[in-house]
């Protein structure tokens, strides 16, 4: 369809405007400062400002605060388990999680280090729509509210999470991701991961 790209641009623009308008008014500079002051352990693995340079370790920046605090909660409550993350989250209070989330949500996103193949760049956008990724994660795959940012995320992390949803081993709060991945072909996972990891967050 000839008007697709223009429509997507409009949609992306609206989404960006919406994200600006609704940045939670309850988050104060003090919350962000408080979060930053306890973030040293996080950035040791997740990179400066939450921009990971380590394969398999996700970037935290670029997510909405709600998405970050939700995943910390999931590790604390044992919904998600990981030898590194579970002990990190175990003793965090709700307030600490909210502060950390406020801080990392306020950080700038670095350009992706991953370079996608020409084939993935061609097929990726089609698959992302066909498999409903863009429905919730947004036309630019930036995520919104509790729905995580995908664009420019670490390749290995994207792939293991998608494989987990496909295998029904990854925790899924409402069943949406498990349900979505039941339709995804195994061979499309690497194409999606390659395309999304190389996608600039904008």
């Amino acid at each position: 369809m000839f008007h697709v790209s223009r429509m997507n641009q409009v949609a992306a623009g609206l989404l960006a405007a919406a994200a600006f308008l609704v940045s939670p008014s309850t988050v104060s500079a003090a919350d962000i400062e408080a979060g930053k002051s306890i973030s040293q352990t996080c950035v040791a693995c997740h990179g400066p400002g939450g921009n990971s340079i380590t394969p398999g370790v996700p970037s935290i920046s670029g997510n909405a605060a709600q998405a970050i605090s939700m995943q910390l909660y999931n590790y604390r409550e044992g919904n998600r388990k990981n030898p590194q993350m579970s002990p990190m989250a175990e003793n965090l209070t709700n307030r600490e999680m909210n502060d950390l989330a406020a801080y990392f949500a306020s950080e700038k996103v670095s350009a992706p280090t991953h370079k996608a193949s020409a084939e993935s760049i061609k097929l990726g956008p089609v698959l992302a729509q066909q498999y409903n990724c863009t429905q919730c994660h947004g036309p630019a795959l930036k995520g919104i509210q509790h729905i995580p940012r995908l664009a420019g995320q670490q390749y290995d992390y994207l792939l293991t999470q998608m494989q987990g949803f496909k295998a029904r081993t990854r925790y899924d709060m409402d069943g949406n991701m498990t349900s979505a991945f039941s339709a995804v072909k195994e061979s499309d996972l690497t194409i999606l991961a390659d395309y999304i990891a190389g996608l600039e967050y904008k």
């Binding site: 369809m1 008007h3 997507n8 609704v22 309850t26 605090s69 409550e77 989330a101 069943g175």
Partner: protein, 408 residues
């Protein structure tokens, strides 16, 4: 027929450019349960469900001044840190119990010397959305079963595993509306819902129903059918009839179909799903199989996508006399609609014949911009009347419970 199909495919392609690029090959598996039925509408493809702030919002960050109530009424934060708070119940000793949908636990809030303590009493549960207290016993409805915890107030520190009332309540073990609301009937039996497994589908025998179980014997009965999903119910204080809220299907349109407030006049009554919505609107897929004449219309059309949840008859004496036996109803608010609605507590006034005479806002102000994403900063879920006649309502988005009181 072919022409009609071609037209609708065309409309679909234009309305949803995001899907126009997709290859023609059919999808290998069904879409997510909440997305199912989407092809019936031209609603924007970017609508998505909301989730709670899992770590909650502290009382200090709740902007109470944004909430609006009638003169004389006052709203305050009664408890915070009650993460993803949903259904509430109160014991005869004054302990408030709170269940939830995605938190796996049941919370007890006790008060001593004016200080409230929020404490987790049950852990590792599966979707413990339904809770009710009756004669010393706390009943908890999870996804697959109902369990009783006798003499709960004396055992808050160690309630144990409880005793099974009934099991096997999740017929398909698949995605869908598998969280339950629990109410104690005047007959001493427990009433609860089993929702439709999909947005719109032909339900099995014990899906899209309201059931009741006798806690003494475990005997199950169907009391209402054709109920897509009811997550709020109560018994009229005078007529003892069961009133319940019902969520209508999604992806049919911005302003249709209406969610419903229903009343059960005879056991086994059919309320229309999946054939007929809002009493007068045949379903685009299933409408051809049955007529709206064969089902009971709602007592009140509530508006499309407003998502009515908990409802309670007000029987206290704190509020003005005209509130006696009114229904107070929490509306969780819409996601499947461009201009959002709900996110409030409504008041429904019934006349002497039990007919709806008035439907008006009781607490509003959570909805701040109906076109924004998110449009709201709080989502009311359930109502609980306190011994002093004030009411509590829960907000799962913030993990907060509010108290509404009245003084002249």
């Amino acid at each position: 027929m072919q022409f009609k199909l071609a037209l609708s495919v065309l409309a679909f392609a234009f309305a949803m450019p995001a899907f126009a690029q997709a290859p023609a090959a059919p999808a290998a598996a069904p879409p997510p349960a909440w997305k199912q039925g989407m092809e019936n509408t031209a609603q924007p493809a970017t609508l998505h469900p909301f989730a709670p702030i899992m770590t909650g919002t502290e009382a200090k960050d709740i902007q109470l001044s944004k909430l609006k109530v009638a003169p004389g009424f006052k709203v305050e934060v009664w408890a915070d840190g009650v993460l993803t708070a949903r259904s509430m119940a109160i014991s005869d000793k004054g302990t408030v119990f709170v269940g939830n949908r995605i938190g796996k636990n049941v919370i007890a809030i006790t008060e001593k010397d004016g200080k409230r303590t929020v404490k987790t009493i049950l852990k590792g549960l599966d979707t413990p959305n339904g809770i009710v207290f009756s004669q010393g016993t706390l009943y908890v409805a999870e996804r697959t079963k109902i369990t009783r915890f006798d003499n709960i107030d004396a055992n808050l520190d160690n309630p144990g595993a409880g005793k099974l009332v009934v099991d096997g309540l999740d017929p398909t073990n698949g995605p869908g509306h598998n969280w339950k609301y629990l109410a104690m009937g005047p007959d001493g039996k427990l009433y609860f819902n089993i929702g439709s497994p999909e947005n719109i589908t032909m339900p099995l025998y014990n899906q899209a129903v309201i059931l009741r179980v006798d806690p003494a014997t475990g005997q199950l009965e169907r009391v209402a059918t054709g109920v897509r999903n009811s997550v709020g119910m109560d018994f009229h204080p005078v007529t003892k009839k069961l009133w319940f809220t019902e969520h209508a299907r999604d992806w049919m349109g911005e302003d249709i179909p209406h969610d419903e407030l229903n009343v059960l006049n005879k056991e086994g009554e059919n309320f229309g799903f999946p054939f007929c919505h809002q009493g007068d609107l045949p379903d685009p897929i299933y409408g051809k199989y049955d007529t709206c004449k064969n089902s009971t219309p709602p007592a009140l059309k509530l508006g499309a996508h407003v998502a009515p949840l908990g409802m309670k008859f007000y029987t206290g004496s704190m509020f003005p006399a005209e509130y006696k036996n009114n229904i107070l109803m929490a509306r969780h608010g819409s996601w499947n609609k461009t201009e959002k609605r709900g996110y409030d507590v409504m008041r429904v006034v019934l006349d002497a014949d039990g007919k709806v005479a008035k439907y008006e806002p009781f607490v509003t102000g959570f909805l701040t911009d109906d076109k924004a994403d998110p449009p709201m900063w709080g989502r009311p879920v359930d109502i609980l009347q306190m011994p002093d006649g004030a009411i509590l309502f829960s907000d799962d988005y913030n993990g907060v419970i509010y108290r509404v009181s009245y003084s002249k």
